[in-house]
Structures are given as structure tokens and as C-alpha cells.
């Protein structure tokens, strides 16, 4: 295991000694001009000659058998080109990709029965979306309604109706993992803090819904797909399987993506609907979800968990052991298995030296749209549960919450640090992050304000959370929950190609799409760093899967880390060839050369005549074969597939999960709120976020991610919940009902950075894409609880809506 590199402190920022020219510069994003002028091309902007438009009839029932479908009237409508029931589609498409070991089959269009309100029953392709929707109105379905299982508790009852009849039970997964001496630590404890905690079902709800345009060419035996699905070169081949096509004949074009937050990893269903209709009609077909489609059937809802949570502590405030048992409502299908629960095992013990952990997981199938992942992927829940327990411990022990945290932090000299589950934290400096935050929080002022407000009968509260933000996932997390020898997927790659043309222009090609972060900006900064050129001179492009290299795409806060690594690897190959050519022409040894300011120089001879520009070398590589070293291949390009920089296998008995999320960031959030006891509204008086995600590549891009993530964290803490009624009816299928925070609801956020470089990644970069959302919920929850503490209120469930606050305040006051 390598040691952290040397670094020094500088005005509240920890920096590597090495000065960098472009990495760390606060450059404007190069993605933005196309986006602010409306020129960027999103999936819904694709229009092809002869293209048809699809619409989908959705089940009005949560659980029902399809007895018959009469679609004749729909087929007869002028302008309609294809009407597919689930049965009709059997010839055209196979089940959608499912990455679970359990036999839970999902089809893009339901065949025998529907398992949630909103499941697709019929898909139509027509000249326009209008006609397609007219046709849906003419379809008659005969249903036999079945008793729905509308929540996890009901689903676990003996004799409950089965969501999938091929399973014996709706409890699709039930395991308890023990890491370390949990029994012993609980026996040693002076006290056990116990809480029952509920995390609400939520939806990523990016502003752009999911969709696909598919163009099937039967003559060429090929399908072209323009879709905002994200994991192109990693799993698109499984979607090709759904389309019953050989994967190398399905070409996915990377599209600009209007946000994902976990919702667009694998759009098997959306692609399958457009693809099946394209096969049926022989014409390109666009299927774009509308918002109701997205909120009812996108397959991206977040966890809905109830925890029985216990923290073993000593009277002095040592946190010894953690015991978490959860029932998690997975909805009707199981596409990513229990990824949301395995994910949080990466940082389940937080920034603390907790020495043992037990975690029991019951995954339950119900008649709801399925859970997959939402930004944070379960680690958001883990942070909230742990910080709730730590706050409760402080309360019960009569200790200051900040002191309690400080006392239990893993110390800077303890890294790399292996936590009980086996995951490794690469580096960090948690006390420094806390001090940075406290240095700007002005807590004395806010405590005085709180006192003053209380005297006036107003409620001001302060919430602090110190929590982890794991980054750069490793693919063992997808399967290590299955008790079997360790044989699963061990790749999580990202590739780029760098080409230098005959005039010296640099082009970088990526194989994962733009999804709302800044991949073009990041890549051009890193290339500029490597070649000593201006980032603006670098051209950046994307390529489709037929030309693709292994690339897992966005997810798990990995892209800045992985793209930086891939660029560095590709740059090394290109530079090697440049040096070989230059050495030949300058009659020097490659070892005596260096690249600076866009030229290759002979070390110690800073004279232009003894140097070559990148353009000089590019021209030789393209046009002057006879001047190249003997036998050298022409051209000047290099590609590199960078894989996880530090990971290991789980043990067969799964008492050690191995390192699977080791590039570990950390953050401290401070929220100050005022709760209006009359209206239930929570107003932010201050919000501060200190983050450590290693070397920062582009500060404004990172700050955008942090602030946006915090808005989502505030959303889940105060507003957001996917709600189902007692019959399993979706009660939040519009943005009127699924409330997203608006501009007046989100405060300014003071963002501070502390940089502890990762010893494992190139340039010390860590991923920061999810941290805002992972750390805000506990800080906001605590702030509201602290505000209402004169009423003796304890908060164990989110979201804390105005209605709930009124119940709490008026209930207690009454």
C-alpha cells in the first residue's frame, strides 16, 4: 500500500507541494456556450427522416392480471403504424437487463400481469405523439384486479399476495452481515442508543426525462440508438440482448444528458420500447417519457427504509459498535439487487473509529415502481442514520455533539484505514475539515441568536453533520452480497483516446456521455497539464459504442477520478511516441528530452533550434514516414483504459468485503434554520459546507455539484416523497405532487475546500459529485430538531414537511 504524498498546509487548504498549471484552475466550463444558446442536442431533439413517435398505455392498477386487450380500434386509426401489447412484443424483445441473481423478470411491456400503477401495457408508434396518444385512448383492456401489496410490512405478512409468483415470498433478500466483534463490543458498552428511523422513497427526477430514438436497419442488420442512457460501453451490450440483437451491431450514440442523479444508468425499458416499435415498423421511432411516465415508471426510485438502529457507546463517549437492521421496500422489480444497501457498507461506520458493525438487510418486493439508485445510492441513508445516532448519543450522554465527533474521528496518521466491513479509506483529515467549518460557522453568534429567539417564543436551530462521501466505486459492490465464492465482475473502466493531428491539434475522445457535470472541461484541463498547452486549444469529442472503448460511465462519483487517470495514461503513450520521434530527429536520447510549453526540448538546452513543437512532430508522424525511426508506425495517437486504482476481492465468507470504495471524501455541513411554528416553514439562516475531495480539478464545477447536491439533500429532508395510496396508486406523478425545492427554498451555501490528495489516484483527485446530497440531510434534520428541542421533539422520519412540523409543534403545545 503506497503512502500519502507530502503536502503542506496553506490558509485552510491542504495542497500538494507540486504546483500545477491547469489542474485546480477556476476555468469557465467549455460545455456552456452550446447549452446557453439552446444548441446542445438532447435525446428529445433528435429527429430523423420518417421518424415515428411512441406513447405508452400505463396500468391504472397496482396489481392486476391482463385478461385481454382489444387494440383493433387503435390499429385502425389513421397515422398509427404499430400497436404492441406485451404478447406482441415477445417476438421482438427479451426481458430488460436485470443485474440481480434472483429470478425477477421484468419486461418493457407487461405480458400477463402488471405489478405497479404505471407499468407499460401497450406501446404505440404513430405519425405524431398526438396520434399515438389518441390511439391509446382506443385500447380496451380487460383486467382481473389482484390484491395489491402496498407497503413492505404488508408484503412480509404470511399469506400476502405475491408480487412474483415464481418466488415463495416477497422477501427477496434477507441477510445479516457481521464485521468484527459486535457481541463483545455491545457487552462492553455502558449504554446502547436505540432509534427507529424512516427514510422516505424519493425520485431523482432530473429535469430531462429518459428516452430513446431507435432506428432499425433490417438490411444492414443494425440498430442505431440515440438515448440518454449513461453506462454505454459497460452495459449497453445487455440492452442489445433485450433488443435480440448482436451487441456489436447496436450502436449507441452518446447524448447530452439533462441530469441523471442515478436515473439513467441503464435505460433498458425505454430503449426496448423504441427498439421494438422500430423493428415492427421498419422506421426510426422516438419514445420520450413525459413527466408522468418518469415519475410513475422510470425505475429509479430511491430506498424506502425503516431502520432499527443501535449504537453501543461508553459513558465517556466512545463509539464502539453499530447494529443496523433494515427493511427496504424495493418495489416490483429488482434490477440492481440490493446495491443501495451494499453501497453504504463502504462508509457505514462514517469518519469514526467504530470497531465492529452488524447490518441486516431485508429487501421486500411490493407493488410500486422499483427502487434502483438515486444520487448517494444508499450511502445518503447510511450517513443520515449514523449521524442521527451520534446526535442521539450526544443528547443521552449529555455531551456536546461536536466534541463527541471530534473524539471519535479517525486521525490523519491512521490512513490508509480499514473499516470493519473491509473497505479502506485512502486518506483524510477530518479534524481539519471540522476546524475549517467551525472557523467560518460563527456558532457563538448563532447560539446567542437561538437564545434570544427562544426568549421570544421563536425556534432557531443549529445542525452539524460530519460525514463521508465515498467515491470511485468498484464493481464488486454489485455482487458481494451473494453468499458465494468471489467470482463476479471486477472491472470498472474508463477510457479516452488522445490524437494529435498533422498540425499539432490535440483531440480527446471520450466514450461516456455528458450527464450534467463537466467532463469536457475536466479532460481539457488535464490534457493541458500533460502537454503544456492551453485547454482552449484542446478539442473534445465523444464517440459511439461501435467505436467505443471500455467505459463504465458516470455513477458513484467516479468520472473526474477516472477521466483524469485515463487521460494521464493515454498522454503517456502519445508522449512516448513524440519523444521517440523527437529523439530521432534531434539525435538525442528520449531520456534527455522534456515536454514544456507545447515543445519537446533537450534537457538543459533551452534553445528553439534544438527543440520541436507538437505540430512539427505531428506533421512528421502523418506525412514524413521516411523521417521516422526505422519501422515506426505512422500517426500519433494513444488510447488508455484506466481501471480502478485500488481495489481488492471480498473474502469468500464475506466477513471482509475488500476495498471497493476506497477513494474517500469527507465533509462537514453546518445548517442554521428558523422554524415557523405557525406555518411549519423551515427557513435557512445560514448554510456552510466544508468538503475534502482531494485535489480539486475545477473549483466552480465542484462547487456547483456541492450546492446542487445540498439542494437535493434539503429536498429529501423537507419536501420530497414518492407517495403511494393504500391500493398502491401513485399519488405523486406530477411535479405538483412530487415537490422539488425552488429558488426561494434553497439558501446560499458557503463552500469551503480542504484538499487531502488521494495517494491512489492520478493527481490525488477524489470524486465529489454526490457529497452535497449525502451530507445535507443529517445537518438539516438536526437543525430542525434542535430548533424544536424546547418542545422535546425528536425527529426520526423524513421528509419533515410543514404538516409534520405543525403536528409536532401544535401537538406538543396543545
Amino acid at each position: 500500500m503506497s503512502q500519502p504524498r507530502s503536502w503542506r498546509g496553506k490558509a485552510g487548504r491542504t495542497m500538494e507541494t507540486q504546483e500545477r498549471r491547469w489542474i485546480g484552475r477556476d476555468l469557465k466550463r467549455r460545455e456552456d456556450p452550446a447549452l446557453v444558446t439552446g444548441k446542445a442536442r438532447f435525446t428529445n431533439d433528435v429527429s430523423l427522416p420518417g421518424m415515428l413517435h411512441a406513447a405508452v398505455l400505463r396500468s391504472p392498477h397496482a396489481h392486476a392480471r391482463i385478461l385481454s386487450i382489444d387494440a383493433d380500434a387503435a390499429r385502425e386509426l389513421p397515422g398509427v403504424h404499430a400497436v404492441l401489447t406485451g404478447r406482441d412484443a415477445l417476438e421482438l424483445i427479451d426481458p430488460v437487463p436485470c443485474f440481480a441473481a434472483e429470478p425477477v423478470e421484468e419486461r418493457a411491456i407487461a405480458v400477463e400481469k402488471v405489478r405497479y400503477n404505471g407499468e407499460a401495457v401497450v406501446a404505440v408508434a404513430a405519425d405524431s405523439r398526438y396520434v399515438a396518444e389518441d390511439a391509446l385512448g382506443r385500447v380496451r383492456v380487460e383486467w382481473e384486479t389482484l390484491e395489491p401489496v402496498a407497503d413492505a410490512e404488508a408484503a412480509m405478512e404470511p399469506g400476502a399476495p405475491l408480487v412474483h409468483e415464481n418466488l415463495d415470498s416477497n422477501v427477496v433478500y434477507d441477510q445479516t452481515f457481521t464485521f468484527g466483534d459486535v457481541e463483545g463490543d455491545f457487552a462492553r458498552a455502558d449504554r446502547v442508543i436505540r432509534r427507529r428511523l424512516r427514510w422516505p422513497r424519493a425520485a431523482p427526477a432530473p429535469m430531462e426525462p429518459s428516452g430513446a430514438v431507435c432506428a432499425y436497419d433490417s438490411a444492414a442488420g443494425r440498430m442505431d440508438v440515440w438515448s440518454n442512457t449513461n453506462m454505454l460501453n459497460f452495459v449497453a451490450w445487455t440492452i442489445a440482448g433485450t433488443l435480440k440483437m448482436p451487441p456489436h451491431r447496436v450502436n449507441f450514440h452518446p447524448m447530452y444528458t439533462g441530469g441523471s442523479f442515478g436515473s439513467k444508468h441503464v435505460l433498458g425499458k425505454q430503449v426496448a420500447i423504441a427498439g421494438a416499435l422500430s423493428k415492427a415498423t421498419g422506421r426510426p421511432v422516438k419514445f420520450m417519457e413525459d413527466r408522468a411516465d418518469n415519475l410513475m415508471a422510470n425505475d429509479s426510485q430511491g430506498p424506502e427504509r425503516v431502520y432499527d438502529a443501535e449504537l453501543a457507546v461508553t459513558d465517556e463517549g466512545d463509539l464502539l459498535s453499530l447494529r443496523l437492521h433494515t427493511v427496504d421496500d424495493y418495489g416490483a422489480y429488482f434490477m440492481f439487487a440490493i446495491t443501495g444497501n451494499t453501497n453504504m457498507m463502504a462508509q457505514i461506520s462514517g469518519p469514526y473509529t467504530i470497531s465492529s458493525v452488524e447490518t441486516g438487510i431485508k429487501a421486500v418486493l411490493t407493488n410500486k415502481n422499483q427502487q434502483t439508485v438515486f444520487r448517494g445510492a444508499g450511502s445518503d441513508v447510511g450517513n443520515w442514520v449514523l449521524e442521527r445516532l451520534v446526535d442521539a448519543a450526544a443528547n443521552e450522554l449529555g455531551l456536546d455533539g461536536i466534541e463527541l465527533r471530534r473524539k471519535n474521528f479517525i486521525q490523519p496518521d491512521q490512513f490508509p484505514y480499514k473499516i470493519p466491513t473491509g473497505n479502506v479509506y485512502d486518506s483524510g483529515n477530518y479534524p481539519a475539515v471540522l476546524e475549517l467549518a467551525l472557523g467560518h460557522a460563527d456558532l457563538d453568534h448563532w447560539r446567542a441568536e437561538q437564545e434570544r429567539a427562544r426568549a421570544e417564543g421563536r425556534y432557531i436551530g443549529i445542525g452539524i453533520a460530519t460525514a463521508q462521501q465515498r467515491s470511485t466505486y468498484f464493481s464488486t459492490e454489485f455482487w458481494f452480497h451473494n453468499p458465494a465464492p468471489a467470482t463476479g465482475l471486477t472491472t470498472s473502466p474508463e477510457s479516452v483516446r488522445i490524437g494529435i493531428g498533422p498540425t499539432g491539434g490535440l483531440t480527446v475522445t471520450m466514450f461516456s456521455p455528458f450527464w450534467g457535470n463537466s467532463p469536457e472541461t475536466v479532460v481539457s484541463q488535464v490534457v493541458a497539464e500533460e502537454f503544456g498547452v492551453d485547454p482552449e486549444e484542446v478539442a473534445v469529442d465523444y464517440d459511439s459504442t461501435m467505436h467505443g472503448l471500455p467505459s463504465a460511465g458516470p455513477g458513484g462519483s467516479r468520472m473526474t477520478v477516472m477521466l483524469s487517470g485515463a487521460v494521464r495514461g493515454a498522454a503517456a503513450k502519445v508522449k512516448k511516441k513524440m519523444f521517440d520521434i523527437a529523439a530521432h530527429l534531434l539525435e538525442a536520447s528520449p531520456d534527455d528530452l522534456e515536454l514544456a510549453d507545447g515543445r519537446v526540448w533537450v534537457k538543459g538546452f533551452p534553445v528553439e533550434e534544438r527543440s520541436l513543437s507538437i505540430a512539427d512532430i505531428g506533421m512528421k508522424a502523418y506525412w514524413h514516414k521516411l523521417e521516422l525511426p526505422e519501422g515506426m508506425e505512422g500517426g500519433l495517437e494513444g488510447s488508455y483504459t484506466y481501471d480502478h486504482p485500488y481495489a481488492s476481492m471480498p473474502s469468500d465468507d464475506r466477513t471482509d468485503l475488500g476495498a471497493f470504495y476506497p477513494i474517500m471524501g469527507h465533509a462537514c455541513h453546518v445548517a442554521v434554520v428558523e422554524v415557523d411554528a405557525e406555518t411549519g416553514r423551515v427557513e435557512f439562516l445560514k448554510y456552510l459546507a466544508a468538503h475534502d475531495v482531494g485535489t480539486v480539478v475545477n473549483p466552480r464545477s465542484l462547487q456547483g455539484q456541492i450546492r446542487g447536491g445540498i439542494a437535493q439533500g434539503i429536498g429529501i429532508a423537507l419536501y420530497e416523497e414518492v407517495r403511494y395510496g393504500p391500493e398502491g396508486e401513485n399519488l405523486s406523478a406530477s411535479l405538483d405532487e412530487y415537490l422539488l425545492p425552488g429558488a426561494p427554498d434553497v439558501p446560499r451555501v458557503e463552500v469551503l475546500h480542504h484538499e487531502t490528495p488521494s495517494p491512489f489516484t492520478e493527481y490525488g483527485v477524489k470524486g465529489g459529485g454526490e457529497g452535497g446530497r449525502m451530507v445535507a440531510p443529517p445537518a438539516v434534520t438536526r437543525a430542525v430538531e434542535d430548533a424544536l428541542s424546547p418542545l422535546g421533539v425528536k425527529i426520526g422520519a423524513l421528509p419533515i414537511t410543514p404538516e409534520k412540523i405543525l403536528t409536532l409543534t401544535q401537538g406538543r403545545e396543545a
Partner: protein, 182 residues
């Protein structure tokens, strides 16, 4: 589609007259995006909630997913494509870039149109005013702070320009009235 269902309507979009043959039920957003190829206007909900489809109709912001194309006949419509002049960004577009008021950019055209309208009505808004004026637009990526900063910066820039260019002719009394009236 029956012939008798078709209505001929002329929209003036970004300064150019565009005659269209549409069904009465065709939404303005679809006419702009599909019939005229102006795909900068995005559809986030088609429920009239998110504001991503906002365009200006005779200077007023309108959700183009809630208006029929035939209702806009004879009206002047401005979409995001009409903001820049040639390669020069509109000052609010430039401010959005400068302040990184976007991440995925999907909501951005709607925010720009709402922001243009706001600044026309109230050239010197304060932060609360900007937040209130943008309350009808949803952004899932940014947390709004950078958007608010961009609008305030554009207002600032415009104010500076006004002072610079119009100083000799400022009618102080009229300006005071205008400000108080806002």
C-alpha cells in the same frame, strides 16, 4: 388528420414570420420544436410546472407546453435561439456562463427567458426579488445560487452600461418613479 382540422397560423419567431399549418390542438412547444426545428426550448414536464419550456410571447413569459400554437398567431415569440446576436451572447447568457449558472443545462433556456422578462420589468432586482421571480422554474442540478448570481450580475452590468451611456439624459424624476413603482 383531416384537412378541415388544419389551421394556418403565422408566428413571428425571433423576428422572422413563420407560417404554419397545424391542428388546433398542437401545442406551441411542439410547433416550435418539431415544426420549426427550434429545439432549444426544452420539455421537462408538459404539466405546466417546471418552466423549462418558457418562451416570451409579446414579451411576456409563457409556458409553451400550456399554450396552443394557434393562440400565438400574430404574436412575437422569442425563444432561447433568439437571444444572442450572431456569435455575441446576450448579456444574460454571458452571465450564466461566467457564473456557471448551469450544469446539465436542460432547464437553462427556460431560466434565461424568465430572467430576461424579470430584468425588463425590474432592471435592478434584489436577491429576494430574483428568487421570487424564478420560483416558477425548477432546476434539479444547481441549487439556484449561481443562477441568482448570474441574473444579479447581468442586472449590475446593464445598470453600469445605462449609467455610462445614458447619464447625460437621465430624467431623475422619471427614474425615481419607475423604481418606486416596481
Amino acid at each position: 388528420m383531416h384537412q378541415e382540422d388544419i389551421v394556418i397560423v403565422t408566428l413571428k419567431v425571433n423576428g422572422v414570420e413563420r407560417p404554419l399549418a397545424v391542428e388546433p390542438r398542437r401545442l406551441l412547444c411542439d410547433a416550435l420544436r418539431e415544426d420549426l426545428g427550434l429545439t432549444g426550448t426544452n420539455l421537462g414536464c408538459e404539466q405546466g410546472v417546471c418552466g423549462s419550456c418558457t418562451v416570451l410571447v409579446d414579451g411576456e413569459s409563457v409556458r409553451s407546453c400550456l399554450m396552443f400554437a394557434v393562440q400565438a398567431g400574430g404574436c412575437e415569440i422569442t425563444t432561447v435561439e433568439g437571444l444572442a446576436s450572431g456569435e455575441t451572447l446576450h448579456p444574460l447568457q454571458a452571465a450564466f456562463w461566467e457564473k456557471q449558472a448551469l450544469q446539465c443545462g436542460f432547464c437553462t433556456p427556460g431560466f434565461l427567458m424568465a430572467g430576461v422578462e424579470l430584468l425588463r420589468r425590474n432592471p435592478e432586482p434584489d436577491e429576494a426579488g430574483v428568487r421570487a421571480a424564478l420560483a416558477g422554474n425548477t432546476c434539479r442540478c444547481t441549487g439556484y445560487e449561481h443562477i441568482v448570481d448570474a441574473v444579479l450580475a447581468a442586472a449590475d452590468g446593464a445598470a453600469r452600461e445605462r449609467t455610462f451611456a445614458e447619464e447625460p439624459e437621465v430624467d431623475v424624476a422619471a427614474e425615481v418613479v419607475a423604481r418606486e413603482g416596481r
